[in-house]
Symmetry: C2
């Protein structure tokens, strides 16, 4: 049976050695009194226990049993209620929440490590609280003081949970089409009516109340995405003292039957003149919801890394034990009937691909989190703005690239098991099914790519990209930049800049171009970003090698693998981008 062990050594490496988190926190007043390197390590140790001992053991059984629906009542699989109660006792839901309302105020750099552990251990379980965290962010940023006082503490404590209600049956990627109505009431509240689908945790038996963030239209709303407002719609109405009142007129119509994340209740939610409260300004709901969506996008990206890490751990354990065939150069375990699978170069190719992508992703998620912390807490306005620009640029890459490479990794992790990888008992096929949704929800990866190339690169004429490129150039120019990786990184960066310049030039002439090549562009950008991470990690590893050959030597070898075996994927991506949009547009719709 698969076991999960949080990769604490690597998380500490990324946090402290690569990004010097402790020093950063010390210079940010909002964090200086809250956390230091030692506190962070203690939290991670505890998080490792909770995820491996409490949540991971429920992952397989949760998948087998799934969530249940019975006449509007949803129950989670056996063990989830008890685990959730224990989990929220630890205060984990509010880890990075606003201390003014009961959150612990921990930095995002720390929170992403914890999120990775959660997704590794049990993706379905994690979704119940991941949505709560995003909901809190949106409320914290846009809700009235009264609503914040009432709701945030109970959400941070995990006593209540949050959801995001966007999609309708006919409105998915195109939210401008949504029809849910909000009628103003005499008391200042709104009567919400409409039907939402794909609502994660829309109903469940874990929390006393559920706080739905719902997108809908006011009576005077303009058509399209500029006429959408955001409402808080609780399952139970809440008195001014926080006590639960009458049940609101909303219900779960059914659960979806899905490929994976089966223990996560994916609900059809029907609102029938349900009482709701406006969050933020009328018609500006989509922008307010994006506060939550950007958070969720990074979180869902981390689902890709988390599932890949779990798959990798299982794959390494299996390939060390399973005896099959002989190493190409001759037996390496001559006393045994066969060599372990891990001696075979093709098996190592799969393991190293997983390792390089997962560790590269871990570093990159921490890097993006660092920018989020700076955007929120830096004292200097320019530093905040710079960090915000990087967050906007890199979030779609994190979401899509983490999950695309997450699926690739989980497929490799299944493949090394041979036929056993296809059997449910071993857990590897569940990880493939569970990770697959991450490429789809929170904006499909195609939508992420459009966001990146269209809005984050072309629309600002490459300004944000230049910020990122400048940082990489500065790194390459430092004496510590590791050879030969630094020069390979620079070559890859120049390729990204060159293709970006070409796209900026062509996009004005060809309206189809951005949509035609956005996915390949995002992937190319992702490989360059990981090259930066791997060069950065290699620099630290070269400096530390003498002190711990096993760990730092592995880092350097994995960096070598990344640069020689994965980064070359950009050659093809570059050629495909340069082939432009024409090859996609020749066929008439009825010629498909």
């Amino acid at each position: 049976m698969p076991e999960y062990h949080a990769p604490l050594r690597d998380m500490r490496f990324v946090l402290h050695e690569v990004f010097a988190a402790g020093q950063l926190w010390a210079r940010l007043p909002a964090l200086a009194g809250t956390v230091d390197a030692e506190t962070a390590d203690a939290i991670l140790e505890e998080a490792a226990k909770v995820t491996s001992e409490l949540l991971a053991p429920l992952n397989r059984s949760g998948d087998e049993e799934g969530a249940h629906w019975d006449n509007g009542v949803v129950s989670t699989p056996a063990g989830f209620r008890e685990a959730y109660a224990t989990y929220i006792e630890g205060g984990w839901v509010g880890l990075a929440g606003n201390p003014a309302y009961g959150g612990l105020g921990m930095p995002k750099m720390l929170a992403v490590q914890f999120e990775e552990m959660l997704y590794s251990a049990n993706a379905s379980f994690t979704l119940y609280s991941a949505l709560t965290s995003g909901c809190c962010l949106a409320l914290d940023a846009h809700a009235s003081e009264e609503l914040k006082q009432l709701y945030l503490p109970r959400l941070y404590s995990g006593e209540w949970a949050g959801t995001m209600c966007l999609t309708e049956a006919h409105a998915g990627s195109d939210l401008g089409l949504l029809r849910t109505r909000a009628e103003p009431q005499a008391d200042g509240s709104y009567a919400i009516s409409g039907s939402k689908i794909f609502i994660t945790g829309g109903e469940q038996d874990l929390t006393a109340n559920i706080v739905h963030l719902v997108l809908g239209r006011l009576p005077d709303a303009p058509a399209g995405s500029k006429g959408i407002s955001l409402f808080l719609v609780p399952k139970f109405l809440v008195g001014s003292d926080g006590a639960l009142g009458t049940r609101n007129s909303l219900s779960c119509g059914s659960l979806e039957h899905k490929m994976g994340i089966k223990a996560s209740a994916t609900c059809v939610m029907n609102f029938d003149d349900a009482t709701g409260y406006l969050i933020g300004e009328p018609h500006k709901g989509l922008a307010a919801m994006f506060t939550m969506m950007n958070y969720e996008r990074l979180s869902i990206g981390i689902q890709g890394i988390g599932c890949a890490e779990a798959s990798y751990q299982n794959a390494v354990a299996y390939t060390r034990e399973r005896l099959q065939g002989r190493a190409p150069g001759g037996a390496q375990a001559p006393q045994k009937s066969a060599d372990p699978l891990i001696v075979h170069p093709d098996v190592r190719r799969m393991l190293l691909t997983m390792k390089a992508l997962t560790e590269g992703g871990r570093a990159f998620s921490t890097y993006v989190a660092q920018q989020l912390d700076l955007a929120k807490h830096a004292e200097d306005a320019d530093e905040r703005r710079r960090a915000e620009a990087l967050v906007a640029l890199l979030t779609p890459i994190a979401k899509a690239f983490f999950t695309d490479t997450g699926l690739e990794s989980c497929i490799h992790g299944q493949q090394v098991f041979g036929g056993h990888g296809y059997i449910r008992e071993w857990g590897q096929e569940q990880l493939v099914r569970d990770v697959r949704i991450a490429q789809i929800y929170e904006g499909t990866n195609g939508i992420q790519a459009l966001d990146l190339l269209g809005r984050k690169v072309v629309a600002n004429d490459g300004a944000a990209l230049r910020l990122f490129a400048e940082e990489i150039r500065a790194f390459v120019d430092t004496p510590a930049a590791p050879r030969p990786f630094a020069s390979e990184l620079l070559t890859a960066l120049e390729r990204l800049e060159s293709i970006s310049a070409w796209l900026l030039e062509q996009a004005g002439k060809d309206p189809a171009l951005v949509s035609a090549v956005a996915v390949e562009y995002l992937n190319l950008f992702g490989y360059v970003a990981y090259a930066y991470m791997w060069a950065h990690m290699a620099a630290v590893a070269q400096a530390g090698r003498a002190s711990d050959e096993a760990f730092y030597g592995a880092k350097l070898s994995t960096a070598q693998f990344y640069f020689s075996k994965l980064l070359p994927r950009i050659h093809s991506l570059d050629a495909v981008i340069r082939a432009g949009s024409a090859p996609l547009l020749e066929l008439a719709d009825d010629q498909f």
Copy 2:
């Protein structure tokens, strides 16, 4: 709900226009009286009905219900028994079987079209008879006349079914480790004892008898793969008149719980002094089994194409109907609330990738089948030998490349559905789960790649590759070779030849090299082979364009897409191969 319509127009195009099957059959005496173009078309029409009307409707329900095990008795999902009875009435199991024993003697070129339809309609159902066909091939090639007379007619009729029993719990890719014992008995039979796993259709309720082909060891067998013999072990012993006798001492211990192909019973089979009959020579069982395995490998490859075609059809239908967003150049359906998904370049990218890979695969499977027909039926011994060499070279590519690109296609076909692609009701996620096994069973795709590069290229010093390259060069030199595709094909071929030459030179010096780069080599080879197919198809389409612009124009546009958007993948593969084995070997096993 998904519907399946056999792509008859494209199948006729490939068979008749690209490969001139009728002319080929007319010159091969064994086929000349059996089949012509008209007969073939009539068979395909009938096959289209059977697969779309009888088998496709059971695909979803079979997945939901799965196969059942109850105390050794296995039952297939509702409707399978009735459908199987109707199916075998049509004589389909023996379609390409030896006419001397009741087969219909149809060419493989025709059979592969039918197989593709079967896998598109219902992969689980198909496996029950696909194994029978392979079993027949092995018996026809290696069994005694007496066994052939007794077993083949009842297998070709579908009255009985066949299995292949290779894998044991500790022996998967490494069959040399297997332990099943065969003790000679006084009557010339053998007592077979051992336990086999992953036996497709090892037990079921569709047929009156089940004929197991079992690999085992004689008492005097040498260790390893040179001590393996092949035995026929029937579920019920068979009298000399073909009547069923006593139940043999073998049983199904359990069914595996799998990611997909859930309606296919994957059995643990226990043999306990079961009566078996030697097939072929002692200790030469693995070679005999390869007759079946090579057949199954092409068949399983076609599973990749079949699932991809089904996914493509669903995806095209959905993206034509689903309204979401607007085309980048402005509304294309301004009277509607949004444009259909199919106008979005990124959606077209996914659909065209599926279309180009599936149609390329269909052509290539027919090409390999043509070589199989020539190897079997050509009058000239040189022509037979040449075809045999091409079959040996191209079978591992067909198996692995069809299924790798089949998974990629099914992932795209799921992705264009957005969240609905993750929901079971739409059928797209089942295709992902069902196609995934095809990369694993019948020799993992990593094993196929080792077979290709190690045995089929390096071991014969590139001789078979030169045959294939000569054929492509001859095509490029014909006046009908389509511009600009022919020159791009030649460039790609030269790249394959160059990297092959480098590998031939390096492999002797570096024993790890073949295993280290085999997968990328197989993929590079696959893209070049598909480029040959697409150039070939483009030549026919250019000639025919005036007569049917819709069909031939689509072919040419898809060829354009293939050459500009998919073939460039070889750039990265080439670079990764040239990076050699060193980056895979640096890490010690305990550094993973």
